[in-house]
Symmetry: C2
Subunit: 215 residues, 2 copies
């Protein structure tokens, strides 16, 4: 076992430390975030600091870094109040990763990275056509985080678009069937392989596997 | 393609909706959080709303729900300022899931769920011995979220404990080698299988795979 103290962390070379800390907590929730600029230009960025906040109301959170390549995304969300989450699959993960490059403001990452815009009449905000699970969010709350000058953005789910065969009898969405990938660190992409779904845990009851959801 | 509007979401049966919304964003970062009570009792809870905030300072965030089975965890963190993150592997994911049961305050989930406490001299807070990546966090900031009465807790990484062979030349921590599992929704556990690591993305440069990190 190796012990790494906060002092040793502080003395690490900057890139080494960034790679280590980014990969430390394990697999993360990955989404392509679609927005629309003031001039009606589509914008797309990849984010991996996304988290569930609650089901009722249905809220998702995400973090923006002050030095992000995705400064246009936050500006567009604050201006229009609308954005989309689009899952990433193995068939286009390299194009999704490419959206993290620092394209000049006004360039559409859809065009630059070879992904396809998709719209529905109800919302003036772009989806990624290649994604198998698409979500529209309405801006709900913006919270500045003092600790490191990042910004937390909370959105309420306004619309979901996905194939019916991804939804189980109990509402469970099957991301292995959707071919959703996950990410560790900033650049390591993974497929996920079901171990099992477990029943709701109660004291004095042994953990147990749902029969229909085991490998 | 199936369209689900916010109106339809609002009309769903509560359990169905919770399962759908929890599984909607895909794979999530999973950690067992270890704390110590006022009376010196160990406490352990499973969390899946964990996210990277920054590498310098090294900060991780997590969300507490107001109705959580883990009310002791937040209380302990606020009292002691210390907590641990411990990854979950396939070898004990059922025990990890069992910590989500509502045990009475004062019960140790280590004992109830069959997991092993582990301490190092520098910190009075329990790790999970079975975990292959262990982190100590010092409380940094507590932020109340108005949108749904949840609480965001930010911690700074104070110590890391892991096997040296999990760390790559560039600082990358290999969670597939660590056998870390990921979760979708509240109860679906997955192993991760590397697709590839990609090089840092730049405009006018094609996405490319790191030779040492492809399947």
């Amino acid at each position: 076992m190796m012990n790494i103290s906060d002092k040793e962390l502080g003395e690490m070379e900057k890139g080494y430390r960034a790679t280590m800390i980014n990969s430390l907590p394990g697999f993360k929730c990955l989404q392509l975030v679609g927005t629309m600029s003031e001039n009606g230009h589509s914008n797309l960025g990849i984010f991996n600091s996304i988290f569930h906040l609650g089901a009722s109301p249905a809220l998702l959170g995400m973090i923006f870094r002050p030095d992000s390549a995705h400064h246009d995304t936050l500006k567009n969300i604050e201006r229009t109040g609308l954005y989309t989450f689009n899952n990433v699959t193995e068939s286009f993960y390299q194009k999704a990763h490419q959206t993290s490059a620092r394209y000049p403001s006004g360039c559409s990452e859809f065009v630059e990275c070879g992904l396809t815009e998709f719209f529905i009449p109800e919302f003036e905000v772009p989806f990624v056509a290649e994604s198998t699970v698409k979500i529209v969010l309405k801006l709900c709350e913006v919270i500045p985080i003092k600790a490191n000058n990042t910004t937390m953005v909370i959105g309420e789910i306004a619309h979901i678009l996905l194939s019916e065969n991804l939804i189980g009898n109990d509402g469970y969405i099957d991301h292995q069937k959707a071919k959703t990938v996950t990410v560790a660190g900033l650049d390591a992409y993974f497929n996920a392989d079901l171990v099992a779904r477990l029943h709701y845990a109660k004291p004095n009851l042994e953990p147990s596997i749902m029969e229909k959801f085991k490998r």
